[in-house]
Amino acid sequence: MERLDHIRDEIQRLVKQAASLEALEQARVALLGRKGRITELMKGLGALAPEARRELGAALNRLKGEAEEAIAHAARRLEDEALRARLREERVDVTLPVRAESEGRVHPLSQTIDEIVAIFGEMGFSVAEGPDIEDDFHNFTALNIPPEHPARQEQDTFYLPEHRDGRKVLRTHTSPVQIRTMQKVKPPIRIIVPGRTFRSDHDATHSPMFHQVEGLVIDKTTHMGHLKGCLVEFCRAFFDIDDLPVRFRPSYFPFTEPSAEVDIGCSREGGGLRIGAGGSWLEILGSGMVHPKVLANCGIDPSEYQGFAFGMGIERVAMLKYGIPDLRAIYDNDLRWLRHYGFLPLDLPSMVGGLAR
């Protein structure tokens, strides 16, 4: 038994002295290896009397357990030390800038179109499209704008060369898609048409290419009250102003009767323009009940069907909503401008997510 105490001391000494995992392994072999001190003693147990064997056996087992535990403990200590040493080596300067990741932007016009679609989508509209290069019939005649109509002269139209089928034009508005849709689809119809439009005008407030969104509702009962309801809801949702004043003013378009221009409230106090209640008005779109002649031109019986149409400049509402001061900059594609006024790629507008930005 005294020998065991002696071994116990030796265990402590060997384990403590081990300065590396290799040294510790040598200590383990010396104690617990095939020829280790404890192993040797255990081999000798068979020669003892049963009583003594049981007693010594139990003591040796305890000792073996202690040795294993001491070694494991020491091993953990040595591993920890080694890890600490490695980590000290692995230190980096965390103030260094990170790897360059360039994130792009979505153009404010695209974002605005997505917002407009999100709102009208909630009201049951779907998105329709048509070609940018139009014929005279769809761009003018079917819309009740005969060749010599003064309204036709006021639209500065881009023309393509004359050929067999007449002269093609760059569409001056998105309204021809009304015609194409009504020719193709039986009412009820409820569409919006965002798209490129063209007029030969180029100055601080006009661009030869710009974007419009057209709206068209045709059924048997829709009247001007619905037109008003639809557009008031749109304006308030788009500008995210619940009490935005919206005013309908009589006007004239060849393709609607009655016709209305729509103004939203604003304030010009202090030189800046602010959308909202404020005593001034800002015209943002034209609208009206589809002219019976336009319906008839598309093969829809005006004594049975009626509805409304509207058209709005997308640049204008985008500029108002996002405080973009200069129309021309929209097409300049200056990267600084695009990063400033553009939108994050994953910022997809939706009504549930809200449209305020």
Binding site: R99, G104, S126, P131, Q153, F158, Y159, M224
Partner: protein
Amino acid sequence: MKTTLAWLKTHLETGASLDEIVAALVMSGLDVDAVENRAKDLAPFIVARVVSAEPHPNADKLRVCLVDTGKERVQVVCGAPNARAGMLGVFAPPGATIPESGMVLKQSTIRGVPSNGMLCSPAELGLSADHAGIIELDGDLPVGRPFAAVLGLDDPVLDIKVTPNRGDCLGVRGIARDLAAAGLGRLKPLDATPVAGRFPCSFAVHLAGPDDKACPLFVGRVVRNLRNRPSPRWLQDRLTAIGLRPISALVDITNFVTFDLDRPLHVFDADRISGDLVVRGARPGESLMALNGRSYELDAEMTVIADDREVLSLGGVIGGDSTGCTEATRNVYIEAALFDPVRTAATGRRLQIQSDARYRFERGLDPEFVRPGIEIATRLVLELCGGEPSAVAVSGAVPDWRRRYAFRPERTHTLGGLAVPAAESRRILEALGCAVSEDGARLAVEPPSWRGDIEGEADLVEEVLRIHGYDRIQAQPLARETALPKPALTPLQRRRGFVRRTLAARGLVEAVTFSFMPKKLAELFGAAPKSLAIVNPISADLDQMRPSILPNLLMAAQRNADRGFGDGALFELGPQYRDDTPDGQDLVAAGIRLGRTGAKRWDDPGRPVDAFLAKADALAALAAAGAAAESLQVSAEAPEWYHPGRAGALRLGPKLLGYFGEIHPGVLREMDVDGPAAGFEIFVDQVPLPKSRRGRAPLKLSPFQPVERDFAFTVDAGLPAETLLRAARGVDKKLIAEVRLFDVYEGAGLGEGKKSLAITVVLQPEDATLTDAALEAFSQKLVAAVEKATGGTLRG
């Protein structure tokens, strides 16, 4: 269309204020662009007397004036040469805003002498360009009163935007008529009593085409022995206020009647007319020296008024110089006629003549007001110029303008959304001049002669609503056809959004560029067909519909480079044009990267952009559109604007889905773009839509570990890697999960014209773990297949 408030009130008896009138105009459809209220702007400026004007002690050109403002005497330092004691001028006290500059006047000290206000020049008050001296007022004017009121400059000017349908409101009286109908007052009666002729009209008029509609009615009369002189002050002031220049009484009268009553007239110097007058189409070779000093070549489609010798005037457009009235004119022939709106517009447009007459004729004039117009004009001529009138000679007749429409009173509700009582609708229509009678439950409505624009029931509904008030229409929500909205976008449209936002997420910035471009650029990028050339471009830079988006993006990127932002990555999702048919337009996602991948950094020196960046963008766009990279075929063929050796096409079966690659350096040089540039063009809508949108195929997860094996082959240097990869993938499509190219090597030990391609093949067994024998069999099969397809050999 401009008018002043006082002018409007010559036709409208009203107690309404300016603001009320403006509000009523706006809400009845006559939008007011601007109200120039000089009374308000000029209110602080008062009549004042210069009591004394002494030389300034410290400045030669300045004077120190003592000014009597009616309330007090103040000292003012003045630089005007005409400032002198005793004169009446216009004084601005401190605090007044100077109209010219918008500056607020302050007390100041000028070269040591205090100055408490200013004596104003006409230019400073925005009255004229005259800066030479201060205003000198004539006569005995009350000192201390606002000078604008004293001089009658305080009449507000309204600029009204008359819509093209409302030709009847291109005269002040028409506007007054609308206001009266809107309840703002009473339309004053108009005296158009005929002026008795003292002798027969000396000119016969023949109406001779170009067709029956060209000039259905022509009315004329002579006034002889008159004197043409400057108009009286009231008439000059009216015309000046709306921006017209007074010329002489005869000219001013025609302008006044045009703007007051919407009745254009023409006055010929009768002594310069030779023989009878004829209204006809112009003859080949005829021309007219017009009153604006320009000569015009005429054609048979243009309606002219001619005498025995020559063309005197272009009907409804402009008068001729030869018969123009001067100070010396003694005898005149006054003409009032109806000219065909369409022909007048066409003539004006072809000759590019904008005139007040043309503007009115092309919008349609009141056919019943030709005769009253000439009577009123005659009275004015007699009043201002004296003379003796002839009888009126009438050629042709008033065309039949009467139309009758059925009006269902409930349509104000079912179409207009506002239930207006039938009696009120009737009242409004009658106030607007319609003749209304009852016809059962309907009203029979005959619009007045001046409202040629009213063409049916919908127009009548608008008339009632605009006068009754659009404000009263209750907004109603649009009824939904389904409880939840259906998708607004088609799968095709929705997919474009994925492509847009995928490219933006990859670091490209979305641009929007014009659909047109310079023809030269279009030629560099495919084609500039004549059918897509713009006939009337805004500038030579924008004269061709774009066959590709790339040049616009390259130009935009180069503009950014010129500003110091050279390493740009831009994309656009928009149309490009093949031909002018409705199907000749393709939706394309195009992008470019210019310069380097980025500025040099501590962990990345960056590198020039290359074909593989563009390929990655293109594949990402296609993946977003639903075409997975592994199903695409890549081939080294791209259009001529790409680098011939560093560009390719992407196909899905026979369908061409796009191109990618480095932009041809020669093209960049032509465009003055600093390279390098790499770009792509993806025909987004060409990607086939998935056949079914319902759910996905069931997922089978294999319980067995995948196995990887590497192979390297020596092949001809010119062999496309795609050939090898395809051959490897084709060996066992079920077993092979992936084939990765992990090394491309050319050089020593391979032999001339050879390269090594090394691949990792990932095998995914599904039924059992692969045995060594099975693996060996597979390897042999793969090597054989690849060697056969590529002509290469396995590297030992």
